[in-house]
Symmetry: D2
């Protein structure tokens, strides 16, 4: 699918603030950036770089009211859906760079869920059947509710609350996957059909020699996703990281099918 | 200094268990491995790899009682002590691979400490003066006490408890550094003079174009340190990560000056 | 002082909901209720009772939009200010009903603060000097900031954040007092001079054979306080406890000097 | 049943320490103390009192190695088992002193479990059927495992871990009951058949105009229980509360059927 993205973010920085922003479509093998533009007002010196796995970041020092506009047209036809079946890898067969995504992290304390995950999902069959079983469990047991969670909510808390938003569904999905020994990581994205339009958080699991994107909220179709960044959990894929507190004034995201 | 290490770890794995172990001296520019040997009994197929920054890991599938023996002679004369002064980098001047060490992590929730760190340490002078001021604060306010903390203790908790062991001192040092915008990471190590001898946890900060090792407990001299691995916090530098619970039967570490 | 209170609370209960409300001025020896009225619309069957220490509660089953109006004129001339000096009681000299206020509670985990409190405040002198020293510490180290904390914030968290509102200042004051072996409890109140006008949370300590009211935020004068309820922490003195989630539609509080 | 209890507790108090101990059988209507003796060595001045609901506490100031010996013969024939059926009370029908046991507390954060409890247990039938359904859920989902939990473990954590000891089972039972609007409180006890013999933690719910004892671990028969104290959760029913840290040297408990 070809997707057109428009993002306009307005922040206020009370003092000179250093920021790292991660909002451009990633240069990964599953999507092609056909065109894009990034504009910051007032103009500011920007340093751009790209991580070894294709995520792009800009760094700048900002103050006052700042408007960041990003637009892009991205084609993602090469992205593949999770296959019907497939074993999970033994750890010795995993690429070295995948190992960190087996570990517990701040919002995904998978070590605490080993007993539950073994009991509930280990008998489901092969690796993909286990993931399907996790997704079905989340769908049946967790409600999509705005306002229950916040930026500090962990998967442990969502597991108790049984409610949350895309970030929480994603953290719970990652946590349960890792608790079974399956590598999983968080992905930030632009997504078609979100209502209201917003950044989206989804996750991917490593099975059958590849990473497979999954939306545990079932809100957006995988072919309607434009990937931005990936990491261990929400800490790593924030749109903006800053060395001081700043204030979001407005945030407008639009994603639509490009002709 | 030339250091000789001997480690003997005995674990029991009730079932076939996948493990990643990180206990060999790292191949980093600040130390030279003069000789080493690794032995696992009963013999087991092992996969070894080295991360891009020189940490070494072995992967295996183990069961029953397993003894891991590692011995090495390491020379660390090229390691340098933290200089007397030096500015902290603006974020745009940091190497790309250093950026993740600015972020909060599971045991080092630096985002919660920004107000305290600004108030207490921001006025201390340049970057190194700030770090010195953090280390002095920890020394005055936190007691080295065994049994107060456990494998789940965060820097937030240690800040309240005012007591802990090397892992806790390290997490608090990292957290306060990151809260000031200074990259910091956890390091596992073998160390001279620890009583009783054990693995050691220390940290390093990125200042003046390099990483500088620091022992916030003041227990071991930096020249008595053999580096094993580094990461965001204790989650990343565990000696053993496994896909099931296992039991430590015994753990003997010896570090002494080699002739 | 003679104080006039007017409170109008509007809630929405999506379903038939059981509630316990604690918003009437307490019948305690330090204040006299000269007149009062309570009105609930639409009219509803109400059960009223008063706890042994004078706090008043109403119980009802409510649904739909409900308006609760309470007005009262209260005189509090007999209330006394914390004396200049006074020893803290040994536990054996405390009245039996005071003992629960020595224990840690949900938002006031005083057991975790024993080391810090001993080191920072134990040398301050007699019991009242210790309390003064705690209040001064809070004043110097914690900022009054709206939006940092929420209904789940504990004293541990506020101690790290170094910011909060009246509820957080109160929890921290209680926690540090109990950590020194001084009984302390939370008090809900109407208060003069709050801007914007709202319910207020303060605390009291037991010293010199009596409970002494303290406002750790320094926002309201003690003689401008009308006491509502008391308990171990915010859990016990909520204005409304319900068996289902409900929604606050509006809340208007007015407190002024009565002629 | 007539039960004979022998308890010998040895503590070390490094400094003069104030303590409140709660280890005598309670004077409640469901048990009769036929004989008892309490001895503290070295001899110490003791203040004894009994709470309005029959729990007994001693207060003393202790230092050095102290041995507390308590023995008693208690008959509990009047205690009744949970009936087969019975509605839960509407809150307006509850005695005033029962209301605090509806509230969340430190180890029993029932407010976080409302969604789960409603979904899982609300449809089970009358009040007693709901409690039975909670007990069955705990039995099926939580393993009795020593070493997973500690003195800080909350019901939230046990719900994730799916493992714990009597204290954890009790906290989870209380939490789920309160989340359904059923009053529940923690009870400390001596109990027949515990292996190894130890203090026991159980809980009781208020239904059908009375409190009913329940052992969620299913380890001890209700007729083999001698009640010591009750409270909101483990904070309130500690055997020893002290104003400084102290050390348990040994603890021997024996409970057997008296002739």
């Amino acid at each position: 699918m070809k997707l057109s993205i428009e993002a306009e973010l307005v922040y206020n920085f009370a003092e000179e603030t250093q920021v790292v922003a991660n909002l451009e479509a990633s240069r990964t093998s599953d999507q092609i950036i056909l065109s894009e533009s990034l504009d910051i007002q007032p103009p500011s010196t920007i340093l751009s770089d790209t991580t070894p796995h294709g995520d792009r970041r800009i760094r700048a020092s900002l103050s006052g009211d700042v408007t960041i506009r990003y637009s892009a047209v991205v084609e993602n036809n090469r992205r593949q859906l999770l296959p019907q079946s497939g074993q999970q890898h033994v750890w010795s067969d995993l690429p070295s760079e995948v190992l960190p995504f087996l570990l517990p992290s701040r919002f995904c304390p998978s070590d605490k869920f080993m007993r539950f995950a073994q009991r509930e999902f280990a008998g489901a069959g092969d690796g993909i059947a286990r993931i399907m079983s996790i997704l079905e469990w989340i769908h049946r047991n967790v409600d999509y509710v705005v306002g229950v969670s916040n930026a500090e909510t962990t998967a442990e808390r969502t597991f108790v609350d049984r409610a949350g938003v895309c970030r929480d569904f994603t953290h719970l999905g990652i946590t349960l996957s890792r608790a079974l020994g399956i590598p999983a990581r968080a992905v930030s994205a632009y997504a078609l059909q979100l209502e209201p339009p917003d950044f989206h958080a989804i996750f991917e699991v490593y099975l059958e020699n590849g990473w497979w994107l999954i939306d545990p909220t079932r809100l957006a179709p995988i072919e309607g996703i434009v990937r931005i960044g990936s990491g261990r959990d929400a800490s790593d894929i924030a749109f903006l990281t800053s060395d001081r507190q700043c204030q979001v004034i407005s945030q407008k995201i639009q994603v639509f099918k490009a002709p």
